[in-house]
Amino acid sequence: MSVSVVVTGIGIISSIGTGFEETKQSLLNKKTGVTPVSILNTRHKDFVLGEIKRSQKELHQLAGTDSKEAWTRTALLAIIAASEAFADAALNLDHAHKTGIVSASTVGGMDKSEQYYKDFISTTEHKKYIDTHHAGNHTEKIAEKLGVNDYITTISTACSSSLNSIMFGVRLIKNGLLDRVVAGGADALSKFTLNGFNTLMILDKEHCRPFDESRRGLNLGEGAAYLVLEREDLALEQGKKIYAHVSGYANANDAHHQTASSEDGKGPCLAMKLALDKAGLQPSDIDYINVHGTGTENNDLTESIALKRLFGDQLPPLSSTKAFTGHTLGAAGVIESIFSIIALQEQKLLPNINFKNKIEATGLVPVTEVLDASIEHVLTNSFGFGGNDSSLIFSSHHKNPVK
């Protein structure tokens, strides 16, 4: 299992940008994408969301897809991001190498299901959207659009979904089953999730304030993002641009409660610890942590406790970027993986915007400005309902291409 897996392509769409460049500029310029609702058809107009300000028609134009066919917003976002990643890695599908797709989503095609659900039951109108509901629909659309079909699957572990899709992609390569994997996730905003989180009373109507004493909840967001993962030797042989090396990964379970995280942070701590072990790194080797940091009372406290348990007093600089994009659920893990790669590439710590006062109980102070730093290893966390906790480590890649 000595095969290394590297990132050779990136594609992303979220409320802070369409494409890698725009996303990076928004991050480095502290420009949030969380704004009042204007696209989602909900009566809860008083929430702010990380909403992508593009209509279905505009998304079709960006995706180059036929608006007469059955497309969910989730699938359109997925196609846009996956196509960018695919082109960025200059993937050339040939029979000599096996390429797969591993995506993730929490609610799949819910955006269309909730629009047409009553018709699904009482008429045959809009029945073309019945089949777009399932969580794997967007994955199949990507597979068909890009012609990637040696392996197809979709993961759903709530808010940690797309860190698990990256992890599974890496392992498919390490186990010798595939040479390249397009891995990531997609979730569009829906009334289903907005109302769901609202009933749990963990949404903030104001801008979310991760890791701040005054935090009152999260802002939901939407997006899609994909990484192209390749076997390192193959990428080097082809002279590919290499963004980073996926050096560590782990998945653990908090086993505490379906929606709340434990008081002692056992699951999150275990995920981070095992990811470090996998990478062969010590806590002191981590130069920056992109935390899950949703801005809920519960998550940020538990995550702080878990961080302190693992890192002690030697906590590396850390920040939550959720206040930029909102919590993009099934896309959050991969979106924040891309942010972690940006930190590595730019050698800059990313800011935790909207932070003012530290949490009394734990006293953690996140980075609040874009700061220059020497960054070799970045840890990123994604935790979800069901106690699903995952952590990934991205490391700088130094080997030169083989000519």
Binding site: E114, T139, S156, N253
Partner: protein, 355 residues
């Protein structure tokens, strides 16, 4: 990659949860869908926990506990589930509440239990298990993906005992919606006459089947399971045959080595024509069997087929009710499961006797 199946457990439309029986009294219904036979769940979980569990969580929990007990494993090193549609009932409940009440007066319970990972999460919670936990949700590939990941975990040698399950539930509403796209049959039928039914679509079903997998052979080992193959939308029958042959070759087998082919016949003309063609040419001399008259069709029905295959190898007998082309040999060593789901997801799983 291969592993031993050291424990099995299934909640299905048949009396399958007690591993002491093997389809000795088959449930027949005249209905538009095949619901699971409800076991006495109190034998598996406390009344307090039971009250909080939805139907699909109860099904999966009872099946998981049964598999673990049989294998003598109290804490699996990983919990992997596959579910095509996840928690249908709670998803519908919350969605209808949103639509009926115009996004007001909602309560969180259905939403909380609507996520696809609920079954795996509840098993972790019940066992206080902090290990690897994941859920695959690509409709007809869901169980197969979880199986592949299970074998990878064992291959990586950091994991010794993996709990794997495939679960889907059917509701009246999801059945009704699926009849609109021709996935499920509209009129009631006798499940044992599935193959004679001329209506479009399959007979809807549901179930939960769990397995304890390990690289270690134990006295409880009932079968060996091999890395599955999944292929999406193959162009034609030739491609399907090539893929099957290639799968067998990879496992050092030829079609003649297969003692029993478990085919996914579901009473729908399109996939059934493919199975029938394979029975004519690629597997002209093999014993064949089918199972969806007992389980109904659902995205993870292959997990029920896997349960059947493991049980056949364990008991050394093929129940009459499954047999299509009779088995004439003296023993069953190799079983191949071939399934088509939604006319696009094709999968192959090889089960072999424990030698």
């Amino acid at each position: 990659m291969k592993a031993y199946i050291n424990g099995i457990g299934a909640v299905s439309p048949q009396n399958t949860l007690s591993n002491d029986h093997f389809l000795d009294d088959v449930a027949t219904v005249e209905a538009h869908l095949l619901p699971v036979l409800k076991p006495d769940y109190k034998e598996f979980v406390s009344p307090k926990m039971l009250r909080r569990m939805s139907k699909i969580v109860r099904m999966s929990t009872a099946a998981a506990i049964t598999a673990m007990k049989e294998a003598g494993i109290e804490q699996p090193d990983a919990v992997l589930t596959g579910t095509g549609m996840g928690c249908q009932a709670d998803t519908e409940k919350f969605l209808n509440a949103i639509l009926n009440n115009n996004e007001e007066l909602l309560t969180p319970t259905a939403f909380i239990q609507s996520t696809h990972n609920t079954m795996g999460a509840q098993i972790a919670f019940m066992l206080q298990n902090h290990n690897y936990n994941i859920t695959y949700v690509n409709r007809g590939f869901s169980f197969e993906s979880a199986l592949l990941d299970s074998l990878m975990l064992l291959n990586e040698k950091e994991t010794a005992h993996v709990l794997l399950g495939g679960i889907d539930e059917i509701t009246e509403e999801s059945w009704l919606i699926s009849t609109k796209t021709g996935v499920y049959k509209k009129e009631p039928l006798n499940n044992l006459h599935l193959l004679e039914d001329k209506q479009q679509g399959a007979l809807a079903g549901e179930g939960a089947a769990f397995f304890m997998l390990s690289v270690d052979k134990t006295t409880a080992s009932c079968a060996q399971i091999t890395q599955p193959d999944t292929f999406y939308k193959p162009e034609n029958l030739t491609v399907i045959k090539e893929r099957i042959t290639q799968y067998l070759t990879t496992n050092n087998l030829s079609p003649d080595d297969i003692d029993l082919i478990l085919l996914g016949y579901n009473g729908d003309e399109e996939p059934d024509a493919v199975y029938a063609q394979l029975e004519k040419d690629l597997f002209a001399h093999n014993a064949t069997a089918y199972f969806k008259h007992l389980s109904g069709e659902y995205d993870t029905a292959v997990s029920f087929a896997t349960w059947l295959g493991a049980k056949i190898l364990k008991e050394g007998t093929i129940p009459e009710i499954l047999q299509k082309r009779k088995h004439t040999g003296t023993s069953v060593k190799n079983i191949l499961i071939y399934n088509i789901s939604h006319n696009m997801y094709h999968s192959l799983i090889l089960l072999q006797e424990v030698s």
